[in-house]
């Protein structure tokens, strides 16, 4: 099979699964998971095939492109490098998205497998697997596309599936609201992206990744314009990758089914922003101002959400904030000028974070609660498979050597140390420390608590057991292996020591606080400190959005609506018709039925007219 065939397989297999699941009658919807898994396995195998064919970057990049839409066959904007404006569609494969596509398809397969277990009892499974397949379709499209507009297209589709899956249990009001919030905030961020694309298209004339080279851009566009476009497109990244100040949707997005969080809100979709940063890196690196902004935003996000992760009780929220924080680290790395390190952390993070989420899903599915203390209370530590995998994931997350997280995080620290300046390096170190702290906190709470009301696992069939354990084990293995795939990594002793010290310090702090989780919980409840309050209110970000939407946006809408009803509808329209009617009533008073009045008018006016002619 040629590359193009493989692309089509990877791209269309999930879509086909989606369509099949939609088309098949309801009576045989038991096969929906099978369809979803079969097609995602196909896609995964195809992408593995692709990555073996091009191992070590042989024969890359490969591009297939086709004209999609002629916008104008003349230069809309003066002094433009191209004579006509054409949008195209196509595939572009380079080492960057080869890595990404493998990651997306494999995790997608594992998550589908795990979902078979997780969603076993849900009556609307077909819808779930359909959406999941549709997500895979959109995500592969995003990764494979060869230009910004196509990326944007799938970017939005990915956002849509995220919306649909967060709101999967739409009967719950909180889920529906969270879905809407995610979509609207992403939309807000995407406006910047959209505008950036349009500006770039207008001023540069082409959107293909292959043509977006830093030198070419600098030749055509000024520094200010480049910065503007870069920041606008980064705006979209901030939305999708949940960077400050658009991060607020991600913790709420945990209302969706947990495998969805594993796939979309940790490994793939939220990583799409970082992926885009790396993909169109020249666009950002063409202006050092852009890079500085990216670096700062990443730093703020990483630090802020790491602190927030440290106080959460909901296991998924801990992981969500941790995801935001790790994404912040990746963005920082790219902002510091190293797309490779960001992407490397992205790939390792994808595996261990989806592992963590699936583990949390295993807990939640068995114990029916999200609260870590309650999980512990109901016998969380008796679930050996889940606890083991949790430990694997957390070790990787906190960067313990030789787990994958260690290598990638070290690389980022190194990059930041050399290119980011001491301040950002410090932030990253602090974030690593906090990461270790909240990871160990999570682990200690579950592992060290006493079991109160134990919930026994009900009997599960062998298929279910496999579909539960297989993804967990595979991802655990992957989160161990992937660290060594990072090329050209030389062990830096200084950093190794720093990392180990950070992990040990974080672990020790967590142990000192949570060696008796019950007491710690009591202390947590009793804590009324100022800082704690701020953390509990998530730095008032949600309140700020609430204010903006309710007090500014909706108030403006209310005002305009009142204007529409009162001024335009009543005053301008109805009053016009009323005054016509009123005028009619006045004029009809002339017709009073008195014959002589009519005559007097007629004769009088007639005479006056005659006088005019005399």
């Amino acid at each position: 099979m040629t590359d193009l065939h493989l692309f089509w397989v990877i791209q269309l297999a999930p879509l086909l699964a989606f369509l099949l699941i939609q088309v098949l009658p309801k009576t045989i919807n038991k096969v929906a998971p099978a369809i979803g898994m079969a097609f995602s396995l196909t896609a995964a195998l195809a992408s593995l095939n692709l990555s073996f064919a091009h191992s070590q970057g042989a024969g890359l990049p490969v591009e297939f492109s086709r004209q999609w839409l002629v916008v104008a066959d003349y230069a809309v904007w003066p002094n433009i490098p191209v004579p006509h404006y054409t949008l195209s569609v196509g595939f572009l494969l380079d080492p960057l998205n080869l890595l990404m596509i493998t990651l997306v398809t494999t995790i997608s397969f594992f998550v589908q497998l795990f979902s078979f277990y997780y969603m076993n009892e849900d009556p609307s499974r077909p819808r779930y697997f359909g959406f999941l397949s549709f997500f895979s379709f959109s995500m592969t499209g995003l990764v494979l596309s060869n230009n910004l507009l196509q990326t944007f297209l799938f970017w939005e589709l990915v956002g849509l599936t995220s919306y649909l899956l967060i709101g999967f249990w739409f009967e719950k009001k909180s889920a529906a609201t969270a879905a809407r919030k995610a979509f609207v905030i992403n939309r807000l961020a995407d406006l910047g992206f959209y505008l950036g694309i349009i500006l770039l298209f207008l001023l540069f004339g082409t959107l293909g990744f292959a043509t977006l080279k830093a030198d070419a851009l600098r030749n055509v566009l000024g520094h200010g314009t480049l910065t503007l476009i870069g920041l606008l497109i980064f705006c979209g990244v901030m939305g999708k990758s949940a960077q400050f100040p658009f991060h607020v949707w991600l913790p709420d997005a945990m209302e969706g089914p947990t495998p969805v969080s594993a796939l979309i809100h940790s490994a793939t979709m939220v990583a799409a922003g970082v992926f885009l940063l790396a993909r169109a890196f020249d666009l950002f690196s063409a202006s050092h101002t852009t890079l500085l902004v990216i670096l700062s935003i990443g730093a703020i996000t990483a630090l802020m959400s790491a602190t927030l992760a440290a106080i959460q009780r909901d296991i998924k929220r801990i992981l969500a904030y941790s995801t935001v924080s790790q994404l912040g680290l990746m963005v920082m790395a790219i902002g510091a000028g190293s797309a490779e390190s960001g992407m490397f952390h992205l790939s390792t993070h994808a595996y261990f974070k989806s592992l963590l989420f699936l583990t949390s899903g295993a807990f939640i599915h068995r114990f029916h609660t999200n609260d870590i203390w309650e999980i512990a209370d109901r016998g969380g530590k008796k679930d050996a498979v889940a606890l083991g995998c949790l430990a694997f994931g957390l070790l990787s997350l906190s960067g313990v050597p030789p787990f994958a997280g260690f290598f990638s995080k070290d690389l980022i620290l190194e990059v930041l140390k050399h290119h980011g300046g001491i301040f950002f390096y410090g932030v990253a170190v602090l974030v690593s420390f906090l990461t270790a702290y909240y990871s160990f906190r999570l682990f200690f709470v579950i592992a060290l608590s006493k079991i109160g009301h134990e919930v026994r696992a009900h009997h599960e069939s062998l298929t279910l057991k496999i579909s539960r354990a297989l993804p967990l084990f595979s991802l655990a293995a992957l989160s161990l292996i992937t660290g060594f795939t990072g090329h050209a990594f030389h062990l830096n002793m200084e950093l190794l020591i720093t990392t180990v010290i950070l992990v040990v310090a974080g672990g020790a702090l967590a142990y000192s606080q949570f060696k008796d989780p019950a007491a710690a919980e009591a202390a947590l409840r009793g804590n009324q400190g100022f800082i704690f309050k701020i953390l509990e209110r998530k730095f008032f970000m949600d309140d700020a959005y609430d204010f903006l939407v309710k007090k500014v946006g909706l108030a403006l809408g209310r005002w305009l609506n009142a204007f529409d009803r009162a001024v335009i509808n009543s005053l301008m329209v109805n009053q016009t018709s009323f005054s016509v009617m009123r005028l009619g009533r006045v004029v009809s008073r002339l017709q009073n039925g008195l014959l002589q009045d009519y005559l007097a008018w007629a004769v009088g006016i007639g005479i006056l007219i005659v006088f005019c002619f005399l």
Binding site: S588, Q591, N592, G593, L594, L595, Q596, L599, A600, V603
Partner: protein
């Protein structure tokens, strides 16, 4: 030339008759009085015709013929007008023109 032999004196008389008729038409409430005023107006017209017949000749007898027509029409008009007045009197027990205002808007 004597006043009796000048066109303008007759036209003036006719104008005066006409104006008096209009005055009556506009001021009286009694329908019969209005009818009487109408007669005055018609008479002023026929006076005009006859005067023009004499002083500003187009045809030897055309003005007189029209005066005859006017007399005939006046007869018809009075005929209809009086019966209408009778009808109104029967309906409203009054021949006041202000009473007949069913068509007001």
């Amino acid at each position: 030339m004597s006043a009796a032999q000048s066109l303008s004196s007759y036209l003036l008389i006719s104008a005066a008759l006409f104006s008096i008729g209009v005055f009556g038409l506009l001021s009286r409430r009694n329908l019969v009085a209005i009818l009487i005023s109408l007669e005055l107006i018609l008479n002023s017209a026929s006076l005009n015709f006859v005067a023009f017949n004499k002083f500003s000749l187009v045809d030897k007898a055309l003005g007189q013929v029209f005066a005859i027509f006017i007399i005939a029409l006046a007869a018809a008009e009075v005929c209809i007008g009086l019966s209408l007045i009778l009808l109104l009197h029967r309906k409203k027990d009054s021949i006041n023109v202000d009473e007949a205002r069913e068509l007001r808007g």
